[in-house]
């Protein structure tokens, strides 16, 4: 595979282009061209298509797109380009079963296929949503550690430490990043899971300095060092700095990607193809051990609407049928805790991801932007749904997901924000209150009636 040193070299020697021209004269026309060439068409009636030929065409389109657009480095104005041969080599030699975690909590993240009965990887937690204080932070971490199907956790971001608000880019960010690592590790120790991998590195970090400093206080090479791509198909030097550090540690980069529906990608077809192009970027530029993706809607800021779910499904099928590089899907739901809608949204996203060949990262709620509006309930629910649908056929779950989507899609533009963690969980025990348990049982019964076979 092209070396990381050569990638750095290309950030300085690749073709120069303004960012606006890259967006509008390189990325957009090349994307539209491959969407047309490979006859990729969105079908709103079937969020989970069962068409392997369409999946293969989406993959070919994504490979061709990446060969044509590369990755734009916003700090140098250069396009990091790769030949088709370099892309094929990267796909052939990419990691296939990276082992995350330590001791008895260590486990390989294996690639799945559409309709596969291979157990999914359940990366569970907050996905970096903001938490108001350290007491709630550690209580929530303990809640995640207690989930039976948990394979790795994703921590929240602290917004205060010692009661002091955190300012990004300041020493308070560095100190809070250090506190994040210490508390996350401690929370897992308290529930007897000291080796469980933290797979979103230091969620509190905004800067490369914050991430690197925080990691010195508890992160391990066997954790997941989440590094996010910039929309669309971009990188900056800060992210490359982080990658350089993690590679030198022998750590796992979790390459996060987020094509935007309604943005430069256009509609669901463009999002699906771009997700494949990101898959390759995740290997070559971000040097990932896996891709962790969340296609997202520009207006609703979530990924549980019909168009985004279609893009997730077909791109998961495209990737997992044609690549062994592991793929995870992050759920960003619009509704918040202790609402019926959150159970439906999470179910639709998880079913779509799992049966289309991916694994999951399940997050909180309320679009991940409302402080304390997430709990361990949705990650637990997501993992139970994931295990309930392994081995099911796309055509069957397509019908189920259609029924579920109808229950909430009209509310996506104005979703219920729900309650805060401390209003639906006991902070001392990290357990949900009775009302929340009743909602969970009701949802489980309803989904069971649709044909899902829960493991417990």
């Amino acid at each position: 595979m092209v070396s990381f040193e050569e990638v750095i070299n290309r950030t300085l020697t690749g073709p120069y282009c303004s960012e606006k021209d890259y967006n509008l004269k390189v990325f957009v026309p090349k994307l539209r061209k491959v969407v047309k060439k490979y006859q990729i068409k969105y079908d709103p009636e079937n969020p989970i298509p069962s068409d392997d030929d369409l999946a293969d065409r989406v993959f070919k389109a994504g490979v061709e797109l990446y060969a044509n657009v590369g990755t734009y480095c916003v700090d140098t104005g250069r396009i990091i380009q790769f030949t088709k041969e370099e892309i094929q080599e990267a796909l052939a030699t990419a990691p296939s079963a990276p082992v995350f975690g330590e001791g008895k909590d260590a486990k390989p993240l294996v690639t799945r296929k559409p309709e596969s009965d291979t157990p999914p990887w359940c990366f569970l937690g907050a996905c970096g949503a903001g938490v108001s204080n350290e007491e709630i932070f550690i209580s929530i971490i303990q809640g995640y550690g207690k989930i039976p199907f948990v394979d790795s956790i994703t921590t929240p971001s602290l917004t205060t430490f010692n009661g002091i608000p955190i300012h990004a880019g300041s020493p308070s960010e560095i100190l809070a990043c250090i506190r994040t690592a210490i508390l996350a590790r401690e929370g897992l120790r308290r529930v007897g899971k000291p080796g469980l991998p933290i797979m979103n590195s230091i969620a509190t970090a905004v800067s490369d300095a914050g991430k690197i400093a925080g990691s010195q206080f508890g992160l391990r090479p066997s954790d997941g060092w989440l590094i996010g791509a910039m929309a669309e198909m971009k990188v900056n030097l800060e992210r490359l700095n982080e990658i350089a550090y993690v590679l030198s540690l022998g750590g796992h980069v979790v390459a996060e990607t987020a094509p935007i529906l309604g943005g430069y990608c256009g509609g669901p077809e463009g999002v699906a193809v771009t997700n494949v192009a990101y898959h390759i970027q995740s290997i070559l530029v971000y040097r990932g051990s896996c891709q962790d993706t969340f296609p997202i809607h520009i207006k609703s800021s979530c990924n549980t609407g019909r168009g985004v779910l279609w893009a997730i499904s077909i791109s998961n099928q495209a990737i997992t049928l044609n690549s062994h590089f592991p793929l995870l899907n992050i759920s960003i739901i619009a509704s918040g805790p202790m609402t019926e809608m959150e159970f439906y949204e999470t179910a639709a996203h998880v079913i779509t991801s799992i049966v289309s060949g991916g694994s999951i990262e399940s997050c909180g709620g309320a679009k991940n932007v409302c402080i304390d509006h997430f709990t361990p309930m949705m990650p637990r629910w997501a993992s139970e749904i994931a295990y309930a649908v392994v081995g099911m056929e796309r055509a069957d779950v397509n019908e189920i997901v259609k029924q579920i989507i109808r229950k909430y899609e009209n509310n996506l533009s104005n979703p219920p924000k729900g309650k805060k963690y401390q209003d639906c969980f006991n902070i001392k025990t990290s357990e949900p209150n009775r009302e929340y348990i009743a909602l969970y049982r009701k949802a489980k019964k309803e989904l069971g009636d649709y044909g899902l076979k829960f493991k417990y």
């Binding site: 957009v28 971001s157 300012h167 990004a168 509190t204 430069y264 256009g266 509609g267 520009i298 207006k299």
Partner: protein, 224 residues
């Protein structure tokens, strides 16, 4: 060519993203000695309104919105000098200094707001991303801004919005600027808490809000 035909061409140039057509219609307008301000109002701005509405319903996507703005600006480059020759001037609705706050590199949403404000008649100074509070304040002072608009996409960067307002309050300059905020973790409640003048949930909301707030400010200035 009739007046109506030229205005219609200006309108359709924006909607069909046809830069050449826009420039051609602008030159025709000048040749026919028509009022360029009327051409802007009844042609270009109407076209932008339609594109904005289509984007709101996602009948078109971000690239179309940006390309329409390019058509608008290219046509304005032809009409601008003619407006000056006639001793008129384009009355700006107000001056906006806009940017994404320090530590935050997300700017797609902020850029959409900047572009829609510009085509709605504001003089917009888009400072970019990762902008410090002091840069916002210096630029606002230098450009005699009416509005300071700050975007933030992270819970750890949104505090900068409060910080800027606190500085203005401490320096007894809070009334000098209208402060607007936006970005995923922000809300009307956050705007109220930190003492901002307004919060825009969407780009369209932000433009309506800016027009309303500037109009209120002008009225207050008139009433002394």
């Amino acid at each position: 060519m009739t007046k109506e035909r030229i205005f219609k061409d200006l309108f359709s140039a924006v909607v069909s993203l046809d830069e050449e057509k826009g420039v051609r219609a602008a030159n025709e307008l000048i040749k026919e000695k028509l009022d360029p301000l009327e051409g802007i109002e009844k042609g270009l701005s109407e076209g932008m309104k339609v594109i904005g509405e289509k984007f709101d319903k996602l009948e078109v996507f971000l690239p179309e919105l940006l390309m329409a703005a390019d058509v608008f600006n290219s046509t304005m480059e032809v009409l601008g000098p003619e407006i000056l020759i006639r001793g008129k001037k384009v009355e700006k609705k107000g001056t906006v200094v806009i940017g994404t706050v320090k530590g935050d590199i997300h700017e797609i949403g902020k850029d959409i707001v900047a572009m829609l404000l510009e085509t709605a008649g504001f003089a917009v100074h888009n400072l970019g991303k990762d902008i410090s509070v002091s840069t916002f304040l210096e630029q606002a002072k230098q450009l005699k801004a009416d509005i300071i608009a700050m975007s933030s996409l992270l819970t750890t960067t949104m505090l900068a919005q409060k910080e800027l307002i606190d500085i203005l309050k401490a320096e007894k300059k809070r009334d000098k600027y209208t402060i607007m905020i936006g970005g995923a973790p922000t809300s009307q409640a956050w705007a109220d808490e930190i003492g901002a003048d307004g919060y825009g949930k969407t780009a369209k909301d932000a433009v309506s809000l800016a027009l309303k707030l500037v109009s209120q400010k002008r009225e207050e200035e008139r009433d002394g």
